[in-house]
Amino acid sequence: MRNIWRWRYFYLLLTPTLLYFIVFSYIPFYGVVIAFKNFQPFLGIWDSPWVGWKNFETMFSSVKFPELIRNTVLISIYRILFGFPVPILFALLLNEVRVMWFKRSIQTIAYFPHFLSWVIFGGIIYNVVGPSGIINLVLEKLGIDAINLSANPDLFRPLVVVTGILKEFGWAAIIYLASLTGIDPHLYEAAKMDGASKLRQIWHITLTGIRPMIAMLLILQLGSVLDAGFEQILILSNPVVYSVGDIIDTYVYRVGLLEADYGLATAVGLFKGVIAAILIVSANHIIRRTGEKSLW
């Protein structure tokens, strides 16, 4: 108690943050009961009738459920496999650039797509890969047959992963760049004295320096395996690619939100939350076991 009084101004500074999380993250937990109700907006949460596990049954009994889980998990895994290393590589490359104006220009260009909504970015993508897009126009001029890029089930997942990387890699690299500034420059000098090449320095000093950050971000990303990028997929998909691109969130959007079945939407949200919690705890445990710095 005495300690609390002693650090009272720090606790006071902490208050708004705590309030924020209580008001916006914990109190809304009350809404989770909607998952077990037939929610009627005008009756309110409490007066809406209870339906037990019916909303969960609706989701799990869907013949599309296995396909949705497969699509969601596959797209997320592809994102991690191909997308996770890109900002790290970009940060490492940018870190080696010594010409400041060039470095800043590249950084700005790489960040820029992050600030565009998927509606805008999706429109740009469509103008590149669509049936009358730039790629097909060029192919046509070269006398080559046009490629169906935008409505092709074989290419949809790669399209999602590549466009997702293009949009976010610059922004995602910021945290690594910040982490790189924390590495002691003396380590590089010492390595140079010992005759380490540039690649050796990157491997033994730079990458080692940002390894805790990489581990932490990997844990967080594993936790969102069931979030495969709703907005992006909604914008880029079309009925031809439903079999490979329909994810849990787009399905819930059509069956839950468009039909105002909020109970179903909440049930799926709760299911995803439980899976995410299990995944985060497991990933954290595994990383801790390997000796890396973990989240807790």
Partner: protein
């Protein structure tokens, strides 16, 4: 010491400032909240006579959310809006949502609890809105309809009857429309003439014409259509079924069927979809059809001379003629007649309903009588302003007749994007006003095209493929699982049939079979059992 005290004060001030900011952010819509509180007692009931008298002469204030079919470019405070507010003694807080996103967004708005005073919705033929009506969410309007007969008379009694619930209450003001809205097939008559192609009379002749166009000019898109499939509404009728609706089952009498089925269970629909699929794979149908995200790409292609045949709502006629006239002055536009289908079905029109969405009034609205007073104004003293707008800005007078100005001739503040958001109710009597339609053609500088459009309108309406289902009767299984069954078994097949090269007729049949077994057949049975009157609606 003083420095330390200053630091402490700084910390306290900072914390207070952050908390104050959070509270300010959380307390938006205070005014709305107050309005709701003061009128909470009115939920589901009509306002008292005293309130109605007191409110006369006061500025009417209400919030209003509606969809827009035109460009979503509305900005508040425009000259048209100011003029309307001045004349109507009203202040309306308008919010628009593009039609493609409307139904989903309005449900989210409703679920948030922050409901506008007046908003558009699909109405009581959709179960979720019927439930909300029954829960007292919306204002009962019977008394206001009696008080303001102009509003009551704007809508046919048959529609009011349909909207009246089993207790005799009405909650919904329908956006009435003439159900007869043909979807025309416009074509480049000059190209057809140049290639010696006679005007097609059958679906087969149309296909042959498209092949010739493709052969003569590889860059020309032979056929394009307004997305979604509504654009090819005229073509769909040639296959003898009701697109996006329920119609007689195979072998049933067309006038008085015993069994009706949804469009995806008809033979005609399958043939129609695979006909379009074949056109697409042969390079005769626009490769962006159902793929492009902007629905009006087809119109743009036709009016910029890139496409030879366009399927689209006939209402776009003046715009299509006038735009093409500017980009290709040499072009001649024709309108295809209703085509005979492969099975001998004669093409015609797929009539729409008697209304398309409409307005609900929040039961907690502060001044409902003010809103009805305003609505009444738009149909009485304000009727001319509602129809034509402002002279010199939205219309001009030629030979004593009011001629609407085409959008490209109006100033920014008077364009469709500024006017449409302030539209409310159009009386049924005005929904098919030939003088007004003629004036629109003339105002767009294409008056010479009006006669042909009118003649084709009559020709298309001769054969009708209407909706047979009465949506005020709910099938319990359809309400509970209909959307999920459709999404699980049919959506990817139906939405993808035309554009998915890998999808075959066997896939289609298999999906339909699974759908029927999973509950689809029960929905059909329930609908047929509950809906006793299945005779063909007449328009």
């Amino acid at each position: 010491m003083r420095k330390r005290r200053g630091k402490k004060s700084g910390v306290i001030l900072l914390v207070l400032a952050i908390i104050a900011t959070m509270l300010a952010a959380c307390s938006s819509n205070k005014e709305n909240g107050k309005a709701s509180e003061s009128s909470a007692v009115q939920g589901g009931e009509t306002a008292t006579a005293k309130q109605q008298t007191d409110s006369k002469g006061k500025t009417v204030k209400f919030s209003y959310v509606r969809p827009v079919w035109g460009p979503a470019t509305y900005t508040k405070g425009g000259a048209y809006e100011k003029e309307m507010f001045k004349r109507a003694n009203a202040e309306i807080d308008v919010q628009i949502i593009p039609i493609g996103e409307y139904d989903q967004k309005i449900m989210t708005v409703i679920a948030s609890g922050d409901i506008p005073d007046v908003f558009w919705a699909a109405g009581p033929t959709i179960k979720k809105f019927k439930d909300m009506q029954d829960q007292g969410a919306f204002l009962k309007i019977n008394e206001y309809l009696d008080k303001y007969p102009a509003i009551k008379e704007a809508v046919p009694q048959s529609v009011w009857d349909m909207l009246t619930d089993d207790k005799g209450n009405i909650y919904f003001i329908p956006n009435v429309q003439n159900p007869l809205i043909p979807l025309f097939m416009y074509y480049r008559q000059d190209i057809f003439e140049k290639l010696g192609i006679p005007e097609p009379k059958t679906v087969k002749e149309l296909e042959d014409a498209l092949v010739k166009i493709k052969q003569s000019d590889a860059k020309m898109i032979p056929l394009t259509g307004q997305d979604t499939l509504w654009g090819f509404g005229a073509l769909s009728t040639s296959f003898g079924f009701t697109q996006y609706g329920w119609g007689p089952a195979a072998g049933e009498d067309k006038e008085n069927p015993n069994t009706i089925v949804p469009f995806y269970l008809t033979k005609g629909m399958k043939e129609f979809y695979f006909y379009l699929k074949k056109l697409r794979s042969d390079g005769l149908l626009d490769k962006e059809f159902l793929v492009a995200k902007n629905w009006d790409h087809a119109k743009q292609k036709f009016t910029s001379g890139q496409a030879a045949v366009l399927g689209i709502n006939w209402g776009y006629g003046p715009e299509i003629y006038s735009t093409l006239k500017k980009t290709h002055p040499e072009a001649k536009i024709g309108i295809l007649p209703p085509l005979k289908g492969p099975d001998g079905a004669m093409g015609g029109i797929r009539p729409f309903g008697a209304y398309d969405r409409g307005m609900y009034i929040n039961a907690k609205m502060k001044d409902p009588d003010g809103f009805f007073r305003f609505l009444n104004w738009t149909l009485t003293e304000g009727s001319d302003f509602r129809r034509y707008g402002i002279e010199g800005k939205t219309y001009e007078v030629i030979d004593g007749k009011k001629m609407p100005l085409a959008d490209d001739r109006t100033e920014a503040d008077y364009k469709i994007g500024q006017v449409e958001p302030l539209k409310f109710l159009q009386p049924m009597s005005e929904t098919l006003d030939w003088d007004s339609i003629k004036a629109t053609y003339e105002g767009s500088g294409v008056g010479e095209a009006f006669a042909a459009a009118k003649a084709k309108f009559e020709e298309y309406n001769a054969v009708q493929y209407p909706e047979y289902r009465n949506y005020t009767i709910f099938s319990p299984l359809d309400v509970e699982k209909g959307a999920q069954l459709y999404t699980d078994y049919l959506q990817s097949v139906i939405d993808g049939a035309i554009i998915n090269d890998k999808l075959t007729e066997q896939d289609w049949d298999s999906a339909i079979d699974k759908y029927l077994k999973a509950g689809g057949q029960k929905i059909v049975d329930e609908v047929n059992e509950l809906q006793k009157n299945k005779s063909k609606p007449k328009y």
